[in-house]
């Protein structure tokens, strides 16, 4: 599969030179909204090779980070009080609810690799299985086929969100000063490029649709700088996986299985039309188990500036809790440190932006 790896150091160097050539004198802020992009950026030391005046910030793209605390409480409640097996992706393990952590050491909590494994478990054991469904459109595309098959003793505790409304929200907000977007390539395989064209046009926001290999990212940044300098539009640099209309089959399945609702993003608040809720009540764990609809009561501690960081307005280095060590991956206080791809967690692990 070598031909699908785009890590050639020659081209990487040439992209770096092109990026330096195209970078204007003033400060440029590029935002991405994908935990996996953040992962790639750090793994390949991308920020280190960019000019100093380009800041590449992570917006609300880490699904663990933006999951409201009460969803974790709901999951824990189901595991403890109802006779269910609570299944989850590994990413959510160790995340704290308001009082306790989601932990695989708990008797009826199981980590699974795929929602299909959770359904298989329900079929094989006959037990009631609930899946804590976090993620964005990419992962919704895995939930939809499962829900449409109407499994018997299975339900989804949904925490599914949509990225384009969040991007709009950020662009409408004052003070975010985003010069360009790096759109999430795998969300785009599902949604297609067109939602981003709409947004780019309405908000005058240059956007590139980027893949995840280092050359995908460097090439995308180079392209983005060109369109920031000339005109705002959308360039698809991940054509091998993303086309204009996206994955129509997946979109159809998602439309059938979910309805669009407002959703709450931890650290931000409610973003209109940014959530996906399970249509079939029997398959919606909240309805199936009569979970009380509660409002998010959890408040981040006073000094926590995650809400600024998640909007790209501040950097982890500006946070008093980060700097004092009170907030760390072992003892995460706010959402940016909770997810392993959260900006603060990654900053902590990899030593900051370009500090090598």
């Amino acid at each position: 599969m070598d031909f699908l790896e785009y890590r050639d150091p020659e081209r990487a160097k040439e992209f770096q030179e092109l990026i330096h050539e195209r970078t204007p004198d003033e400060d440029i802020k590029i935002m991405h909204v994908c935990g996996t992009h953040e992962s790639s950026l750090c793994e390949y030391g991308i920020r280190q090779v960019l000019p100093d005046n380009i800041s590449l910030v992570e917006g609300p793209g880490c699904p663990v980070c933006v999951t409201p605390v009460r969803h974790v409480d709901e999951a824990l409640k189901l595991a403890e009080e109802e006779d269910v097996t609570l299944t989850t992706f590994g990413d959510m393990v160790k995340v704290s609810g308001s009082e306790d952590r989601l932990s695989r050491e708990k008797e009826n909590v199981k980590i699974v690799y795929s929602v299909s494994d959770a359904v298989k478990l329900s079929e094989e054991t006959g037990d009631e299985v609930v899946f804590l469904g976090v993620g964005f459109e990419t992962t919704a595309a895995t939930y939809a086929p499962v829900l449409l098959n109407e499994p018997e003793n299975f339900s989804l505790l949904g925490s599914v969100k949509r990225i384009p409304p969040a991007m709009e929200f950020l662009l409408e907000m004052e003070g975010t000063d985003i010069d360009g977007f790096m759109a999430p390539g795998h969300v785009a395989t599902i949604t297609g490029v067109s939602p981003y064209r709409d947004i780019a046009k309405r908000f005058d926001a240059p956007t590139v649709v980027a893949g995840f290999e280092p050359l995908d990212i460097l090439g995308s940044i180079a392209e983005l700088l060109k369109i920031i300098n000339t005109d705002s539009r959308v360039e698809n640099v991940y054509e091998r996986a993303v086309d204009e209309e996206g994955n129509r089959m997946a979109q159809k399945m998602i439309d059938k299985a979910f309805e669009v609702t407002d959703a709450e993003w931890r650290g931000i608040g409610t973003i209109p039309d940014s959530g996906l809720e399970v249509k079939n009540d029997r398959l919606d764990a909240r309805k199936r188990y009569d979970l009380e609809l509660s409002v998010e009561e959890y408040e981040e501690p006073e000094d926590c500036i995650c809400d600024q960081i998640i909007l790209g307005k501040s950097e982890p280095g500006e946070c008093p809790l980060f700097n004092s060590g009170e907030c760390s991956p072992q003892n995460p206080v706010g959402p940016c440190m909770v997810g392993s791809e959260g900006m603060c967690n990654v900053w902590y692990e990899y030593g900051g932006r370009r500090d090598v």
Binding site: A12, Q48, G135, P329, S340, Y350, V356
Partner: protein, 339 residues
């Protein structure tokens, strides 16, 4: 979890464990005056004790094993226990002499499993030439231990020490083969994947023995929990040097890479049970490499980096695309992720 109680996290070997030990254990057992040459404080793979009237040292190590699944692709708890202790002695520079094996069994533990584990231990001890000479057995009530816990301790004699703290600027870093196999095979078995990846569990004392003829070996570790990343960091900070490592030079099986990319698990940060990572004086590096490669268990050895200068123990990873980043000790257990 209150600070009054030992947390599960403290068993994971990271900062929490260190805190637990420094606060509740070391103050009492680390007795300055009768401290050995290398002891509890150094937290190396083994302890080193001067032998009066001799220029040789006694090396002593101990480990408790609870791995689950107990039987995994390429090995089992018994093999792991014997191999692990032999390797800890070997990487300190010792010739392993003998092992002990203490078992705590839960009432109801299957006799078959016990026999399988014992057979594995015996077979490996014999083929490695390191006998199990003493032991202990206890049986406790249901729930008082999870199935079985095996502790193996070992002693060996050493002429030239190769502690983790021995690195000097200019030394080259060598790893004796492909990394991540054991960790990935355990994840696969635990999560129910059929990946056809085998643990590399094996004793490497004879492999290390080949290096004695070369000379210039300054430091060694076996990269078990936390993988290559943890060992490099431990060696760097114990030695007070910074390291620079080339990602492209680190040998990794394509399957392990594939599994890692699929699950979001880094092969550099998961355990190996049949590998050595070592520091060697630059002038001896090629010879050391050749000596390792001559052996079956070292055939994929590579020079992966060097010690750059005195420092705080930073490990810098040069990526495939020519940039650099920091490689830190992993803090999490390897769990499949989607993000």
């Amino acid at each position: 979890m209150s600070d009054d109680e030992v947390s599960l996290e403290a068993g994971a070997g990271g900062l929490e464990m260190l805190k637990l030990l420094k606060e509740s254990v070391f103050p009492s057992i680390d007795l300055g005056e009768i401290s050995p040459k290398i002891g509890v404080r150094e937290m190396d793979d083994g302890a080193v004790i001067d032998l009066e009237g001799s220029e040789k040292y006694l090396v002593f190590t101990t480990d408790s094993h609870l791995v689950k699944p107990r039987f995994f692709s390429g090995g089992d708890l018994g093999k792991l226990a014997v191999s692990g202790t032999i390797n800890d002695l070997a990487v300190m520079g010792a010739e392993p002499a003998a092992l002990s094996s203490a078992m705590v069994l839960e009432k109801g533990f299957p006799r078959d499993d016990l026999e399988r584990i014992s057979e594995s231990m015996g077979e490996l001890a014999e083929s490695a030439g390191v006998p199990i000479v003493t032991g202990d057995t206890k049986v406790v009530g249901e729930g008082d231990v999870d199935g079985v816990m095996v502790n193996t301790s070992g002693v060996g004699i050493c002429e030239e020490l190769t502690p983790a703290s021995g690195l000097n600027p200019g030394d080259k870093i060598i790893v004796s083969g492909n990394v991540g196999n054991h960790g990935m095979s355990i994840v696969a078995d635990r999560e129910g994947f059929d990946f056809d990846i085998e643990s590399d569990v094996a004793p490497i004392h004879r492999l290390v023995g080949e290096l004695k003829g070369v000379g210039g070996i300054t430091a060694m570790k076996d990269p078990t929990r936390g993988g290559l990343a943890a060992s490099l960091n431990e060696m760097a900070s114990a030695s007070g040097v910074d390291l620079e490592v080339e990602k492209g030079d680190i040998p990794i099986d394509s399957k392990v890479e594939g599994a890692g990319e699929m699950l979001g698990i880094d092969p550099l940060k998961i355990a190996n049970e049949g590998k050595v990572v070592l520091g060697v004086e630059s002038s001896c590096a090629q010879e050391a490499l050749d000596a390792l490669r001559d052996e079956e268990r070292g055939k994929n050895s590579r020079i992966i980096g060097k010690c750059t200068e005195d420092g705080e123990g930073r490990v810098i990873l040069n990526t495939e695309i020519g940039s650099s980043r920091i490689l830190k000790t992993p803090r999490r257990k390897p769990i499949p992720r989607i993000c």
